[in-house]
Symmetry: C4
Subunit: 233 residues, 4 copies
Amino acid sequence: MLEELKEKVFQANLDLVKHNLVIFTWGNVSAIDREKGLVVIKPSGVSYDTMKASDMVVVDLHSGKVVEGDLNPSSDTPTHLVLYRAFPEIGGVVHTHSTYATAWAQAGRDIPNIGTTHADYFHDDIPCTADMTADQMAEYEYHTGVVIVNRISSGNINPVHTPGVLVKNHGPFSWGKDADQAVYNAVVMEQVAKMAFISLSVNPDTTMNPLLVEKHFSRKHGPNAYYGQKKKQ
Amino acid sequence: MLEELKEKVFQANLDLVKHNLVIFTWGNVSAIDREKGLVVIKPSGVSYDTMKASDMVVVDLHSGKVVEGDLNPSSDTPTHLVLYRAFPEIGGVVHTHSTYATAWAQAGRDIPNIGTTHADYFHDDIPCTADMTADQMAEYEYHTGVVIVNRISSGNINPVHTPGVLVKNHGPFSWGKDADQAVYNAVVMEQVAKMAFISLSVNPDTTMNPLLVEKHFSRKHGPNAYYGQKKKQ
Amino acid sequence: MLEELKEKVFQANLDLVKHNLVIFTWGNVSAIDREKGLVVIKPSGVSYDTMKASDMVVVDLHSGKVVEGDLNPSSDTPTHLVLYRAFPEIGGVVHTHSTYATAWAQAGRDIPNIGTTHADYFHDDIPCTADMTADQMAEYEYHTGVVIVNRISSGNINPVHTPGVLVKNHGPFSWGKDADQAVYNAVVMEQVAKMAFISLSVNPDTTMNPLLVEKHFSRKHGPNAYYGQKKKQ
Amino acid sequence: MLEELKEKVFQANLDLVKHNLVIFTWGNVSAIDREKGLVVIKPSGVSYDTMKASDMVVVDLHSGKVVEGDLNPSSDTPTHLVLYRAFPEIGGVVHTHSTYATAWAQAGRDIPNIGTTHADYFHDDIPCTADMTADQMAEYEYHTGVVIVNRISSGNINPVHTPGVLVKNHGPFSWGKDADQAVYNAVVMEQVAKMAFISLSVNPDTTMNPLLVEKHFSRKHGPNAYYGQKKKQ
C-alpha cells in the first residue's frame, strides 16, 4: 500500500544525506496521506546505505499503530503524529541533528530573523521550545510534539509561514506541504543557523528591519508573490 | 541572439555552484552587451541541474523589458540594471547568498581590509549598504541597486577598484569586466569574509598598514603591475 | 594469526579516514582478543594509502611485546594496553587528532553534556585529563593511559557509559565493545565537540536538564532501550 | 635541466590544491639544488589546471635571474631566495593563503603552541612577523624574506625545528628539507591554526606545559626519536 508515497519518503530520507544533514542514522522523514489518515515514516536505526523504499513503515495517524511494515518505525514517530494532528496544512515532517541548527537548540536560543535568506522561508525567528517537565518525559516522544505545538501556539506563529522549530537541547524539526518541502526547509534552517552564528560573532547586536522581513516573505509567499516561474500573475 | 554571451552567462552561473557559493537557486549572474544595450541574465528560480544556455533571458538595459526568452528573468534583474547604468566600466554582475559574505551582510558591518588577499582584489573595506526606507521597499529590487550605488558614491569608492558590496541583511553583490571576473570577485569576497571572521575572533582590534594596502593593490592592478604573465611592461 | 581481527582493525583504521577524523598518519585503532590476551594495532607512521591488513601488528596485552608483525606498532600502543587492562568490558580503542575534539583537549575543558546527541552515546561530560607530571612523562605513552584511567576513576565515571576522554593538550581517545564501535564513538565525540563549540559561542551559559540526559541515554542503552530494530522487548 | 626537480616541484604545487590550501593561483612551491645554486619555482599566476612540469622556472639562487623558462617566475621568488640564503639546511619553500593560517596572520598573532599536534612538528609558537616599514616596501618581496629571517633570528628560533612563519597581514610561509616536507608543514600549520582558533574560543587562557612540548617534539625529531618505521635505534 501507498507505494508511491513510500518511494517519495525513501528518496526524501536519502536527500538528508545528500545535503549533509545527517550522519549515521540520525534523521528521519515522514509524509502523510490525509485521505487515508496514514503516515509513512523511516524505520528506526536503519542505515541509509542499505535502506529500501519497501522498508518504510505505515502507521495510523490517530492510534500510532503500525499498519504495514516489518521494521520498527522511527522512535520519533509519536512526535511526527502530534505535528500532523495539530497542523492540518502540513504533508511532510523532517527531524535531523544537523550541526548548526542542533547547536542553536543546545544553546536554547531562538534563531533570530536577521537576514532575507531566513525571511524568504521563515517569517518569524525560528523558535526554541521550553524545557520538558519530568512528567512529560514519561511519554517523551509524544510530549516532544506537545512542546513544539505549545511553542508555536504561545508565540502566535503560523506554522505554514514558519515551518520549523528547535527542540531545546535536542535539535530541529521542520515541515512542509510534502516530504520534499520539509527537507528543503531543513536545509534552509541549517544554513540560516550557520549564518546567524557567524553574524552574531561579528556583531552580537545586529537586527533586521521588520518591514524588510515582510517584503521578502511576501515576495515568495504572499498573494502577489513574483519569485520563480510558476507564480506569474 | 547573443548566443555567445548566453553561453558565457550560463557557464558563469554553473561556476557559482562549482565554487560552493550557492545552494538551490540562490544566486544569479548576468553580463552586458554594451553596444546593443542588452543584458543576459539567469531565469528566476530555475534549478542549476536542469538549466540550459538557451534558458538565459535577454532584457533591455534601459526599459528592463524582456527582449528574448520564455522564462521570467531573475527577480533581481532590476538591481543588476541599476548597477550597469551607474557603473559604465563593468560587464558582469553576480549575486549570491554565500555563507560568510551573507553573514557579514546580516551583521551590518563592512568587511575590514586587514589582509593582502583582500587588498589584492578590493582596494577598500567591502562596504555594507544603509537600511532601505519603507518608501524604497515599494520598488524593492530597483532600490537595492540604488542603495548600492549610493554607498559606493558616499564612500568615494572606485567601483572598479572595489568590485563588490554587501546589501545589509541580504547578501553580497559583486561585479567585474565580464561575467567570469564577477564570479572570481564573488569567490574572493566569500574567502575574505571567512578569514576576517576568524581574524576578528582571534584579535578584535587588528588592522593593516594603509601602505601595505596600496602596495598589494598596485602590484596586481596599478600602472606598474607585475603579477602574472600578461602584464610584463 | 588473528587474520579476521586484523582485517577488522585494518578496515576500522580506514574508516577514520572515511569519516574525516585523520590526516596523514595521525590516528590509530586497535582491538583485542580477550581469550588469547592479544591486541591487534596499526603500525606506526604508515600511510593509510599503502597500508594492508597484513601490516597490522599483534602485541601481548600484558608484556606489550610484539608477538607477530614486521613493522613497529603504533607509538601509542602502551596507552591502548593500559586501557584494555583497566576496562575489561572494552574490545576496541581509537585515538585521533580530529579537529574539534582535539581543540577541546587543547583548551583543557570537559565537553559539557548539553544535548541529546551527546547523551545518546556519552552519559557524562566528556572528561579532560589532568596535566601529566614530569616523572610520568619519562614513560609517556604508558602514563597517557594512566591519566585517562585516573580521570575516569576520580570522576566516578562508568567507562562503558562514557566511552571516551580528552587527553589534555593532546586529543581524544575513545573505545567500545569492538573496533567498529570505538570508531563510531570517535565520530560522535568529534560531532558533539563541534556542536558544543558553536553552542557556547551562541550562549556561554547553556545547560541541559539532568533528567533529559537520563531519558536519552536510557532510550538507547538502558534495560528498556527501544531505539533501533534489535532491542524489541 | 633539473627535470627531476621540476617534476617534484610541479607535483608539490598540485598537492597544495589536493590539501585544499589554495584556490585559484594563490600559492607557490619551490625547491633548491644546493650544488648548482639553482631554485625551481612555479610560474606566476598560472592556473593549476593547465600547468605542466615544464612550466617550472629555474632561477639563480644569488642573482635571482631566470636561468631557464619561458614564463615569469612567481612574484614571490625574491622571498623564497632570501629564505634559501639565510637557512642553508632547507630544500623546499611553500607559500599559501590557506584560510586559518592566513586569518592568524591577519590577526597579527603568533599561533600559540598549545597542543601536541603543533609540538610534533613546530617546536615554538609559530611566529608572526613585524610590520614592514615604508622603505622596505619599495623592494617588497625581498623584504618579505627579510622580515621573516629577522623574526626567526630575534626569537632565537631554530628554523629547522620551527619550519614556518606568518607574514603579518599576509599569510603563511613554510619550509622543509625538500618540497614535499615544506608542503607537509603547510598542511600542519593550517590544521594547528584551525584548532588554536577553536581552542581559544572555548578557553582564551589555555596553555601547555613546556615539558610536554619537549617530550612530543623529541619523540619525532630528537636524537632518540621513536615514531614511525625508519628511526628504529
